[in-house]
Assembly symmetry: C2
Homo-oligomer: 110 residues x 2
DNA sequence: TTGTCATATGATTAATTGTTCATATGTTCA
DNA sequence: TGAACATATGAACAATTAATCATATGACAA
């Protein structure tokens, strides 16, 4: 017969966040899981930037950048302000930096 | 004429990590960007677990779990040890916990 | 060795997703 | 109001990927 781990499972299950929260967590990391978006976040690490500057920097089309900024904004990872025709984006909070920094440590330490 | 930001770009470009590193960083977060893998990592947060216990816990097939554990292991996010027929998996290091914790904060704080 | 349990793996399929292209919206200035 | 610039958006296509199914590998016990 298969081996039993009902006792362990009961304990662990009690400590697990809800499925909804775990889903949200996965969705959040999914946003970090794209090179273009990572590059955008790095570009905004120190300063705000306008869309066309980001596009120039990454050597990509304005449209592609704009689509990705929309994704980042929907996840509350960036914020924006308008100044005339130009729209400047910046990181929304410190979590973005912490998450990236932790990931950076993980891949550079080994 | 389009507006100019050559000076800004030059500065930012100098501070950006290499494309290869940014790619690796994206690849790392991609792994966190799946609910099943997030659940597995949460399951292993406190204790090691065997594959079938994880499958039971998440109510998924052994095969699906095994495939995902392979992905996690390839990224050095989990490690394993064999005890007879059973193979136990555990988190590889503290970065996994930190990354998850940062993400958790981001989504629960607003 | 044979049977059973635990895990791994390869191929396939369905679903997700990032970029492109064309175009729309919004702002400024002459 | 019209022209130019900055940005946003919708549809379509290509590429990636997670789960499934069938099967293989590995360990143990009788």
């Amino acid at each position: 017969m298969p081996h039993d781990h009902a006792a362990l499972l009961k304990h662990i299950k009690a400590d697990m966040p809800t499925d909804e929260l775990l889903q949200d967590l996965g969705d959040l990391f999914k946003i970090f899981g794209d090179t273009t978006r990572i590059k955008i976040m790095y570009a905004l690490y120190e300063n705000e930037m306008c869309v066309c500057a980001i596009a120039d920097l990454l050597n990509m089309t304005q449209s592609a950048i704009s689509h990705q900024l929309k994704v980042l904004k929907a996840a509350n990872l960036v914020e924006s302000r308008r100044d005339g025709k130009t729209i400047y984006y910046r990181l929304a909070d410190e979590h973005v930096k912490s998450i990236i920094a932790q990931g950076y440590e993980h891949i550079t330490e080994k």
